[in-house]
Amino acid sequence: MATAPRFWRENPSRYNLVGIRCNSCGRYFFPRRAICPICHRKSVGKIEEVKLKGTGKIFSFTEVHDTLEELVLQKPYVVAMVEFDEGPKVTGQVIDCEASELQIGTPVRVTMRKLSEEGPSGIIHYGYKFVPVKEKAP
């Protein structure tokens, strides 16, 4: 129960990848933050909320065999560090694929899936996961 409000506040990031752009140095950060960790005071008043495009590539990944109870139906599953085209890196599940189909550099795009459920009568949490992008045949 107690986690519902905490999740809810993060929905813009979880649903729509809302991050920030520092208009002092031009870097993107995800999730949102109040000031730029590079420019510090110089970034005050220059932070702009932006929605990341949701495309990027796998920076690193691992296959998870031992997991939390709520993900037991999905194991083994892949968790990757994804580097967005805009620069920020996030950790997320890569779905609809086997680990053997992936490598460092595999292009991925964001999708929305169930992250967890607070039991059968609780809130369902939704958020970003990643799917590999099939390169269209030329």
């Binding site: 037991v72 609809d96 929305m112």
Partner: protein, 350 residues
């Protein structure tokens, strides 16, 4: 004012299971079941998918294909019989996920398999009356049949979303007609996990009577004949029913082929006619006329007379996957994995 489809998007999970694989578990000849139902395989959602995630994916595919500002969307209706929440509309999450919140009205619809087309009709009214600039109508389901029940061979998952508006329409919704009666062919009581149905009763007095009446009622009202249409699509609880109903009405196999997805995807319930219509729009050309009849148990039918416009030549279909593309790169499951995915295995501690 002319009202029509401005954009559309579809989604089908990549997992499949065959009736043969299901039949092996229950001591049923799955191969003849497959032939009888005209279902070669059906789609299966993964454990982290539900009607909300399918609706979001379809709606995002719809938005990728147009340049409409999501803040101009004044209404979202999600039609399904498998909304994840009994109380809390699926549409609230869809609205947030496509950036349409908060200045809009949202509600979930339910009318067995025709809740998605009921959503299209509502949007037609709201856009036509000028109450909203754009409305979004979604039909999506992750339907379940009880283990061993006849429905288990067909109940599948998928959905499609339509942006209804009055500018830059790729197809105009020229007329709609509905036919509704009190018929107890299929139902699910509140709190029950699986639906129940009237067995053979689901055919003649239910599906056939309502689809035929809806279709004939529309043809009469627009003064058209089956041969006036390029494509036709009927609700498809399996491949057999729509094929038979098309023949009874005088539509040819060529007219129904493109929108007939049950043989490879199964019965996507509220997603069925919306997905079939998407498959048709994936290849339709200016001037094509589409005849569509959805059916919902309980029971009723929604019929539509749709005309494809010149706008479709400029419409960037390739910005999102076509139904054909969604029905490729498949992964087939065995029954054990399927049962795990669909929560049919009771886990310890529950």
């Amino acid at each position: 004012m002319k009202v029509g489809i401005v954009s559309y998007g579809a989604y089908v999970p990549r997992y499949r299971i065959t009736p043969d694989e299901i039949g092996k578990v229950w001591g049923v000849d799955g191969k003849s079941m497959s032939k009888g139902l005209m279902i070669n395989c059906k789609s299966v959602p993964s454990p982290d998918e539900d009607t909300i995630t399918i609706s979001v994916e379809a709606a995002r595919n719809m938005m990728r294909r147009c340049s409409v500002d999501p803040r101009d969307i004044g209404a979202i209706y999600v039609g399904s019989e498998s909304h994840p929440y009994a109380v809390k509309p699926s549409g609230t999450i869809v609205a947030e996920a496509i950036g349409a919140s908060p200045n809009l009205t949202v509600a979930d619809y339910e009318f067995a398999c025709k809740a998605g087309t009921a959503a299209i009709q509502t949007c037609m009214g709201l856009v036509g009356s000028g109450m909203v600039k754009y409305g979004v109508a979604i039909g999506a389901d992750t339907s379940q049949g009880a283990p061993g029940d006849a429905l288990e061979y067909s109940a599948s998952a998928g959905g499609a979303a339509f942006l209804i508006g009055s500018e830059k329409m790729i197809a105009t919704l020229d007329r709609t007609y509905s036919y509704t009666t009190d018929t107890p062919d299929f139902w699910r009581r509140e709190g029950q996990m699986y639906p129940r149905h009237g067995g053979r009763f689901t055919g003649e007095p239910a599906y056939f009577k309502h689809v035929l009446s809806g279709a004939r009622g529309l043809l009469e009202r627009v003064g058209a004949e089956p041969k006036d249409y390029t494509y036709a699509i009927f609700h498809q609880p399996n491949g057999k029913f729509p094929t038979r109903v098309a023949k009874q009405l005088g539509f040819s196999d060529a007219q129904i082929k493109t929108g007939l997805l049950a043989p490879t995807i199964g019965n996507t319930y509220s997603g069925a006619v919306p997905l079939g219509l998407s498959a048709i729009l994936d290849e339709a050309r200016p001037g094509d006329r589409i005849f569509a009849v959805a059916y919902g148990s309980g029971a009723g039918s929604d019929a539509f007379d749709i005309k494809v416009t010149d706008e479709i030549d400029k419409y960037p279909r390739s910005k999102a996957p076509t139904v054909k593309e969604l029905d490729s790169n498949l992964k087939f499951l065995d029954y054990a994995t399927y049962a795990k995915f669909r929560g049919k295995i009771l886990l310890g501690g529950e």
